[in-house]
Symmetry: C2
Subunit: 340 residues, 2 copies
DNA sequence: ATGAAAGCGCTAACAG
DNA sequence: CTGTTAGCGCTTTCAT
């Protein structure tokens, strides 16, 4: 193995000088710098991560904790993971992957043994069991998502409340007076996921403001569950003219059921998705939607963490503004009752 | 920070003794062992990963490289990542996540700087550019997937050739004489992915053996592409009575199109999926399928790596046997031409 | 069964 | 601008 000492000898300088050329932490004459650079390339030198971590108490590693839970849409997670890793590399960091299995203990372990410099945590519950570990940790963290109490924490999240509101605004402007929401899977709602609760709040507030009716029903994945739920919704509220889908796994089944029932989109019923943009865009009929900016959330989380590690930027919450992609699945509310 | 020296002092022993109690590499009297264990808990001692790596030249970290490329089904990747991480933890390892962006250089970097003890690489192409780096690395690796030349490499993969063969066997036994395959997305085929090529070989060989006709068409994701492809297939081979789907993103669109065209499954046309089991199971009509055992591949890859790091088990290829899940989407070939 | 001591490869503080 | 000198916290011989 080629060590820094080898490089130093090769260049006829002291080890410290090589170290400083590498880190750029002090000025070096162009001559020696070039001799050192040359030696590094010629010998194929790579700094030893462990030695560096020991001496500097920095690992240049970020820990990314992403539980794979039921009801979570895998493509969004992958997008976050990719964005985090890419952005981290751009800042000189590697990424340690933690899944949910270990829970809060994983954070204590990684923090205690100095395996990483900071944490990024996804799928945060309103009262997430990992929060105490994160607060107690010696290292900073950024949550992707938002718990009920964000004091002392850094968060990056889509403004789901605003998303819900914009969705209803959009539909109300088209004359819809009775809106039904196929919500996140029951498992997700039961878990106390902030995004579900906040979206609903936004929907309700806006509906009230417009004087529109709003029916919310958590909906499981799969064709059968969606079909049953849709039947029930139209029984409970026959005047429904707009549906909001808050669940990637319900999009395609929903379209199938509507087709079967002979309800035309958007003539008989308007559809608005609040979910992963790709699911809305690639459906058999593209849906107007507000997407989850997974990539931007991952990127921003890393950038904030890097800033915090650099001593800039205090903790705090960053909310991303929702954006509506109109794909034509919403239209004016039908004046008569929809075709049966 | 609590160090090993603190624990030693607390227990009134030498540092080396504490180290040996931790690793169990030599026998210790029950008395001192207990005193030390007690001290560890009381002080909340955690070994410093960097220091350990430096002294032992082992990191207890596995590097997992998974590119997120177009046409790859995210849920399968997530399943692999979760299985790898869970299994790794069960063996005392953590996981460093590498995406594809950096390519072969990432392997050189991680290997050279001793960031990990071994590599797991997914989505391996027949002539993957990362292979030279892996072979040159000082650390062992296991591929999930199989390149054209496996000499000197360790691989874990589904036996896709057998999968193709079993699929055709299944259909031929039901009397189908003309089979069409909606293949992996063009991007995946063009990349030279082993699974695509090997599945096709298995399909063709078995078709020839049964004297059945086989039409293979790479198929892009999305409703429109699938609809167009299906029309074309039935024009080219009007006698087609069975369809094989080798593409998760084509499953649901395919079902929609068949419904629209009034082709009943399995009365008019039999459907057999060779793709992620979940996509086949949760479709609006569940499909008989051979699934990709993502979880087992991840688990086996880690287990093999751990064995190799322990000096047991030489490199080599492990092929997992395909398993057919019959969900009723295949049936006897219709005697007349299918309904139009 | 235990202790002592020599590094592992690097950083950083201090001289010069 | 550069060399020297301590460690960072742990593992691992070699003695005892």
């Amino acid at each position: 193995m080629v060590t820094l000492a080898d490089v130093a000898r090769h260049a006829g300088v002291a080890a410290g000088t090589v170290s400083h050329v590498l880190s750029g932490k002090r000025s070096t004459s162009a001559a020696t710098r070039e001799r050192i650079q040359h030696g590094i390339e010629q010998l194929g030198y790579r700094p030893h991560a462990g030695a560096r971590a020991l001496a500097s108490s920095r690992t240049d590693v970020l820990a990314l904790m992403m539980p794979l839970r039921t009801g979570i849409h895998a493509p969004v997670l992958m997008e976050i993971a990719t964005a985090v890793t890419t952005t981290a590399r751009a800042h000189g960091y590697d990424v340690l992957l933690l899944t949910g299995e270990e829970g809060p203990e994983a954070i204590r372990r990684v923090d205690g043994s100095a395996l990483a410099d900071a944490f990024i945590v996804t799928d945060v519950g309103l009262d997430d069991p990992r929060l105490p570990s994160l607060k107690a940790a010696e290292r900073p963290s950024v949550l992707i998502g938002r718990p009920a109490d964000t004091s002392g924490l850094s968060c990056v999240d889509l403004d789901f409340e605003a998303a819900g509101a914009r969705c209803v605004d959009h539909l109300a402007a088209l004359g819809h007076r009775q809106i039904a929401v196929l919500g996140e899977p029951p498992a997700v709602c039961a878990r106390g996921t902030g995004s579900a609760e906040r979206t609903l709040r936004g929907l309700r507030t806006a509906a009230a403001a417009h004087g529109a009716g709003l029916l919310h029903r958590p909906t499981a994945a799969g064709h059968a569950a969606v079909a049953a739920m849709l039947t029930r919704v139209f029984e409970e509220r026959p005047a429904t003219t707009a549906l909001v889908v808050r669940n990637e796994a319900a999009v395609e089944p929903l379209l199938t059921v509507l087709r079967r029932d002979g309800r035309a989109v958007p003539e008989d019923v308007s559809l608005f998705a609040v979910c992963a943009g790709q699911s809305a865009a690639q459906a058999s009929a593209p849906l107007t939607s507000i997407g989850v900016p997974a990539q931007e959330m991952g990127r921003r989380a890393v950038e904030r963490l890097v800033a915090q590690l650099g001593g800039q930027e205090p903790p705090g919450t960053v909310l991303l503004a929702p954006e509506v992609d109109d794909r034509g699945s919403t239209g004016p509310a039908p004046t008569a009752a929809p075709a049966r």
